[in-house]
């Protein structure tokens, strides 16, 4: 009997090579030290996927996990995690998605699914409560993610089945292939769809009819209700509810934080044509929400007419509006929606896909690419027809699309001729729609993220436009005004470290970073600790929870260190450190990275020469066995 509530207490091990499926009991010590979700996956990956296992080798694990708060009453307890060694970066990889799959997995009675091996022919896992079987997916191979979901639901005769599926991009091992979850929420980053494709696992279909047990129901109910109330009365709530993440498009532009034409600029001259107001006027159908979410930042959109008439989709996000909009100088909102839907159907991360195309367009602008390289394609900024065509070519690895399917780092190396200078990535991960020159904490966050360039590990929203009240409440008056100033570097290492540790806990518990913890800056360490304690029955003082977050983040860093990652890899593309921003509030700014990095290592207890956790820090966290240091 598993000693803690909130957990199913068991996980499913699926060997795709042999077809063997085995239910295993969850080790309570793992829950105590790593919570679940992201932490659980981090630990298993470190234990079982060593440096000799390549990301696309059968021995790589694909872990799908839902933490102890998933499927409960707390606000937006809906998030699921995918963890594997990343085909895009070659290092630790994870992705996180909302929607309903995570809760369904818990309702079916599982904390995690772990896939290893490679099926001899395409299969999908059909999971209904405790009944699990691998089924033939030969008829699904080649279908889009939406078609796959529809076919599985039809075959099961149940529209409540939740499906996580790859599309053609995952099948073709595109290094930024996504796993689409019912079917327009994305486990987008790190190319984990390619891991799934390498295993010939087309989909996972889950139906659960159980529930999540709670240790102290009355206390937990009161905590959950209070968190819902606080979120709904948070001053940022109305704007996030009204417009979702597209609501920040217009705001990021004058900040100079809205990457345009592959980060040459931080503002887009046609931003008014693609901002949230334009999007809603053009295509809004209704507001939608993930499981248990009081915010409902998700929306359903549909184009009623025009060249892409009847294109319908949800989860049009800020990131995609930028990556497939301003980033490629595209002000055609309809085309952005069409490209977004195409990426969802093909199963590709819209961020990396858009960045790859923006990278290629800048190479064309600088005559580094020509017709012979592209097979006759003319890569002019803003050409939507070429963009849509290129997305299909990437997913099929057809012609020049096969070059971009490798991600910008590998594509630049293959192209040569100085192309590396235009490849905007950190550790192989394409940078998302932020510009560290406009928000200094983000410049640091991009390099310290354990999965390569990423805004979501640290998610430093406090200084994005300036939340002085939240900065004061979380850190104290002595950290103002700099902590809330986007262009200041002072105190930002603390903001980033705290965000990374908190984020590790949020992703391990299974709640949403847009749903109160980060975007609203409402839910913080004490709230999560209280909710976890009431849900699980595990004693959870705040200091213990902080230690868990720190442990998870340090283990991810150790995983990368074991693969050879050092401080030398913690660097930004030259554009961010040497080319002053020409735009908006960031005009004239560069990222002065090294002083922030130095302070960050000090706060973390990491060796400043290597960027590795010191032995002392590892001992403090109970991670001596993960030490990357040579044994003496």
């Amino acid at each position: 009997m598993f000693p803690y509530h909130g957990y199913a207490g068991k996980w499913l091990h699926v060997n795709l090579t042999t077809g063997q499926i085995e239910a295993r009991e969850l080790d309570p010590a793992l829950a105590e030290d790593y919570l679940g979700g992201n932490g659980l996956g981090t630990r298993w990956l470190w234990e079982q996927v060593g440096p000799a296992v390549g990301p696309l080798d059968p021995e790589n694990l694909l872990i799908l996990a839902a933490g102890p708060l998933v499927g409960t009453l707390v606000p937006n307890g809906c998030r699921m995690e995918a963890i594997a060694r990343s085909p895009l970066t070659g290092i630790y990889g994870d992705a996180n998605a909302g929607g309903f799959f995570g809760p369904e997995l818990k309702f079916a009675g599982w904390d995690a699914l772990v896939f290893t091996g490679q099926a001899p022919a395409p299969v999908y896992l059909a999971l209904a409560d405790d009944r699990a079987e691998l089924r033939d997916a030969g008829h699904l191979w080649g279908l889009t993610t939406a078609q796959t979901e529809a076919a599985i639901r039809q075959a099961h005769g149940d529209t409540r089945v939740k499906v996580a599926a790859i599309g053609p991009a995952g099948e073709n091992l595109v290094r930024f292939a996504s796993i689409q979850v019912t079917s327009q929420r994305s486990l987008g980053r790190c190319g984990l769809g390619a891991v799934m494709g390498s295993k010939r696992l087309k989909a996972v279909a889950v139906r659960g009819t159980g529930s999540v047990s709670i240790a102290h129901p009355a206390r937990f109910h009161d905590i959950a209700v209070e968190l819902h109330r606080r979120i709904r009365t948070n001053p940022v709530y109305p704007a996030v509810h009204a417009y979702g993440t597209p609501g920040i498009v217009a705001l990021m532009d004058p900040l100079g934080r809205f990457p345009t034409r592959n980060y040459q600029f931080g503002s887009f001259e046609d931003v008014d044509r693609i901002n949230a107001e334009a999007l809603q006027a053009r295509a809004l159908v209704r507001h939608l929400g993930c499981f248990g979410c009081p915010i409902c930042c998700d929306k359903l959109y549909r184009l009623a007419d025009g060249p892409y008439a009847d294109t319908a989709l949800r989860s049009v996000e800020y990131e995609t509006i930028n990556s497939l909009g301003a980033n490629i100088s595209n002000a055609d909102l309809d085309a952005i929606l069409a490209a977004n839907r195409l990426c969802d159907d093909l199963g590709m991360d819209t961020i990396s896909a858009g960045r790859a195309i923006g990278f290629a367009m800048e190479l064309w602008e600088n005559e580094i690419l020509n017709w012979e390289d592209t097979g006759g394609l003319i890569l002019r900024w803003g050409d939507v027809d070429v963009t849509l065509r290129l997305l299909g070519m990437i997913a099929r690895r057809e012609g020049f699309g096969g070059v971009l399917a490798e991600g910008v780092r590998r594509a630049a190396a293959a192209i040569g001729r100085g192309a590396e200078e235009y490849a905007m990535h950190v550790k192989g991960m394409e940078i998302a729609a932020q510009d560290g020159r406009a928000q200094k904490s983000m410049g640091l966050a991009h390099v310290t993220s354990t999965r390569g360039a990423d805004h979501l590990k640290a998610f430093p929203v406090i200084d994005e436009t300036g939340y002085p009240d939240e900065a004061r409440r979380r850190y104290g008056e002595e950290y103002l005004p700099e902590m809330a100033q986007p262009l200041a570097t002072k105190h930002k290492p603390l903001l980033v470290k705290d965000g990374e540790d908190l984020g590790a806990v949020v992703d391990s518990a299974g709640v949403c970073k847009s749903g109160g913890t980060f975007v609203l800056a409402e839910v913080y360490w004490p709230d999560i600790a209280a909710a976890l304690e009431a849900a699980t029955g595990m004693e959870m003082p705040v200091e213990r929870l902080k230690r868990i977050g720190e442990r998870i983040y340090n283990l991810q860093r150790c995983y990368n260190a074991r693969l050879g990652i050092t401080r030398a890899d913690d660097r930004l593309p030259r554009r961010f450190t040497h080319e002053p921003s020409p735009s908006g509030n960031a005009r004239g700014q560069v990222v002065d990275l090294e002083p922030m990095l130095e302070e960050y290592y000090r706060l973390r207890g990491w060796d400043p020469a290597t960027g590795w956790p010191t032995i002392e820090k590892l001992r403090e966290l109970g991670l001596e066995e993960a030490s990357p240091w040579p044994r003496t």
Binding site: P235, V236, P238, A239, V240, A242, Y243, T245, G247, I248, A250, L251, M252, P254, L255, S267, N275, A276, E277, Y318, E319, A432, A433, Q434, H455, L456, F459, V461, E464, T465, G466, Y467, P468, D469, P481, A484, Q485, P486, S514, F518, V519, A521, G584, N585
Partner: protein, 98 residues
């Protein structure tokens, strides 16, 4: 000869736009007017819903109001900032993310 009035362009975004029902407008203020004077003018013009979004109950700037003057972020609470003829103000509710 210096004019005794200045014209300021104001653009609203997000839920502020919903409170005003206009995307943008030009307002006229006395020469030497401050940001506070501009916001007071707007609150008077558009009513209590907008006022709540611009000012805290104690009359200071609302904690989640973001203002750009000529595309430069105005430090929170700097209502004494003097405005000049031709200035453009961008008004947003604070939101974040990415």
């Amino acid at each position: 000869m210096a004019s005794d009035v200045i014209a300021i362009q104001v653009r609203y975004h997000n839920i502020l736009r919903r409170a005003t029902d206009v995307d943008q407008e030009t307002i006229t203020l006395a020469a030497g007017a401050s940001l506070r004077a501009a916001l007071e003018h707007l609150a008077d013009r558009h009513g209590p819903r907008l006022r709540e979004m611009l000012f805290a109950p104690d009359g200071s700037a609302a904690s989640h109001l973001v203002v750009f003057r000529n595309r430069q972020l105005v430090e929170h609470g700097q209502l004494h900032l003097p405005l000049a003829a031709g200035d453009e103000l961008l008004l947003f509710p604070a939101v974040s993310g990415g």
